[in-house]
């Protein structure tokens, strides 16, 4: 199974995004690029996993989720957090261990909790937990759902299947968002997954929706009915065929140059830049300036 690259030459033109959506995607992009820059300067402790190339996914999902929904994020979760809270300060402070850190600097990049958002760093661990939360929601707050972001690599973990089984058996309001970027650290999906994500969802009688679009409007229209059904207790696996532009963490990108180049060609950033150059350039400059200011501010703060 490999993520399908969009057929650019035949791709329909992108619908003009709302400024708010475009700004948010650009802020996430600027944030991740800033992290790489800070890392290069030795300003970050440990490591970091950026979501470069995948920023549009949580932004596309944003209006489909409600404030009372729970979101479970993973090791590549900065975009998920920023799409929910638009709080680059709190996140950067967490990653840098500075005052204002959203989890006091204890959790760092991949262990964040705020209100109904939670990320964990172990693959496949959050799906069973999300089932427990979904069980609670089904009884105590019907209509709310638990959304879990996982990657294609996560499908190597047995907990995924235990959880999918429970979700189907107990008719849980569980939305599984698979960000299939075609690679797990350095291992291509074709070397790690027999069969398909769709086939695995089908094995449990769970609905599966697929999209390789980056157009927010198209994605939202396609996913809205399925996500509404999740709220009625019909779990759903949404598979985004997407692209990881950067390395897994730092300095571990072993892909051939042409594969990375194909990912760059499919990047939402290029496509939106071409589709709507006027707001894009303006909003991109504003996002970069904003993130630069946030980084300057946070880096100058005392430890958390």
């Amino acid at each position: 199974m490999t993520a399908t690259a969009p057929e650019q030459e035949h791709a329909p033109p992108l619908e003009e995004p709302a400024d708010e959506d475009l700004s948010l995607m650009l802020a996430i992009r600027a944030f991740e690029l800033k992290l790489l820059e800070l890392f290069g300067q030795g300003m970050l402790n440990g490591t970091t996993h950026t979501c470069l190339g995948q920023e549009y996914i949580p932004v596309a999902l944003r209006p489909l989720l409600r404030p009372d929904d729970h979101v479970f994020s993973n090791h590549r979760g900065h975009g998920h957090y920023l799409a929910r809270f638009e709080d680059p300060e709190g996140l950067l402070a967490e990653i840098m261990g500075r005052r204002g850190a959203v989890c006091g600097g204890v959790g760092g990049s991949q262990h964040i909790r705020r209100d109904r958002f939670l990320s964990t760093g172990v693959q496949g661990e959050s799906l069973p937990v999300a089932c427990g939360v979904a069980l609670h929601l089904k009884r105590a707050e019907p209509g709310a759902l638990a959304c879990v972001h996982i990657g294609d690599g996560t499908f190597g973990e047995g907990g995924v299947y235990e959880a999918l089984n429970l979700a189907a058996l107990w008719r849980l309001p569980l939305l599984v968002v698979v960000e299939n970027n075609g690679i797990a650290q350095t291992t291509p999906t074709s070397a790690a997954m027999a069969g398909t994500v769709a086939g695995r969802a089908a094995a449990f009688g769970i609905a599966h929706a697929f999209t390789d679009e980056v157009d927010l409007a198209v994605i939202r229209r396609r996913l809205a009915p399925g996500i509404a059904a999740v709220r009625q207790g019909r779990p759903l696996v949404v598979e985004f065929a997407t692209h990881r532009l950067g390395p897994h963490s730092k300095g571990d990108d072993t892909r051939p140059a042409e594969v990375v180049e194909r990912a760059r060609e499919a990047d939402w950033y290029r496509r939106y830049a071409a589709a709507c150059p006027d707001p894009f350039a303006r909003l991109d400059a504003a996002a970069r300036t904003y993130i630069d200011e946030v980084a300057r501010d946070v880096a100058g703060r005392e430890p958390s």
Binding site: H70, A101, V102, C103, G104, G105, V106, G107, H111, I112, R113, L118, T120, V122, E125, L127, P128, V129, A130, C131, G132, V133, A134, L135, H136, L137, R139, A140, A146, G158, G159, E162, A163, N165, L166, L169, W170
Partner: protein
Amino acid sequence: MRVAENLNAALHTALENDPGLHLLGEDVLDPYGGAFGVTRGLSTRFPDRVLTTPISENAVTGVAAGLALAGDAAVVEIMFGDFATLAFDQLVNFAAKSVSMYGSRVPMRMVVRCPVGGGRGYGPTHSQSPQKHFIGVPHLALYEVSPFRDNAEVFAEMLAREEPCVLFEDKVLYTRAMDEVEPPFTLERDGGVARVGLTDEPDCVIVAGGGVAHRVLRAMRDLLLEEEIVCTLLVPSRLYPVELDLPPARHVFVVEEGTAGGTWGAEVAHVVHRRHWRQLAGPVTLIHSADSVIPTAPHLEREVLVGASAVRRVIRETLRG
């Protein structure tokens, strides 16, 4: 009342008192009520909150953590404690860590019940005492069912901790009576620690989990009658974190059914050494099962598991030389 009935009554009480409490496990529904009958009657009385699960210890423990995260509480029954290894990631990397890894305290009210121990011929993968594998995990508290402490009290205490707990239940206890101590020994309780003995100034103190208490009492009786050695037995309900106040004694023993190496006794000994070193005649003596898998055949199983005779022999040799 037998220990299994006391546990069952405790679960009834806990589910009755806490409308957010759930119980999950394999085969826990009536009329079966769990592999050892401990959950009998619960699914009939609380059908919405007592859930039978697939054979998925990992996910079920994760579900419990999710319920806890959402403000509910959960008790998970692992059919045999040996299978708790399948839930290790959820317990250690998620449930326990969540209490503090997000920077502010997150209450995680959940209990994982683990029937453990041998003596019933279930063989190497259904007879272990895996307590030692869970020691030393921040925010993971370990308890062991004792025939000398009401389990309703134990559940109330565990859930009030607001952090995940594992409750080890030695299977040989299920059919034993609660609170039964034969004369001349008497039973006293000090919070979560039961004290069984004769006098305030014993020759030695034995610290043991509830599962081996009866074996230790047999040894104590023989030591008293045959050697005039007076022992006091302490049975802490909570195994970890270790918190023990010992009566004055020059010799201390720790007895457990777990096999040799990295034992609970070693952890207890460390605490005792730090607190009572000056009063001791020598280091704490550890008495446990052999460094071996637990065989199925009864004659082989007896050779491996700690029993009354080993307890008696080690104590006599240590005190009398």
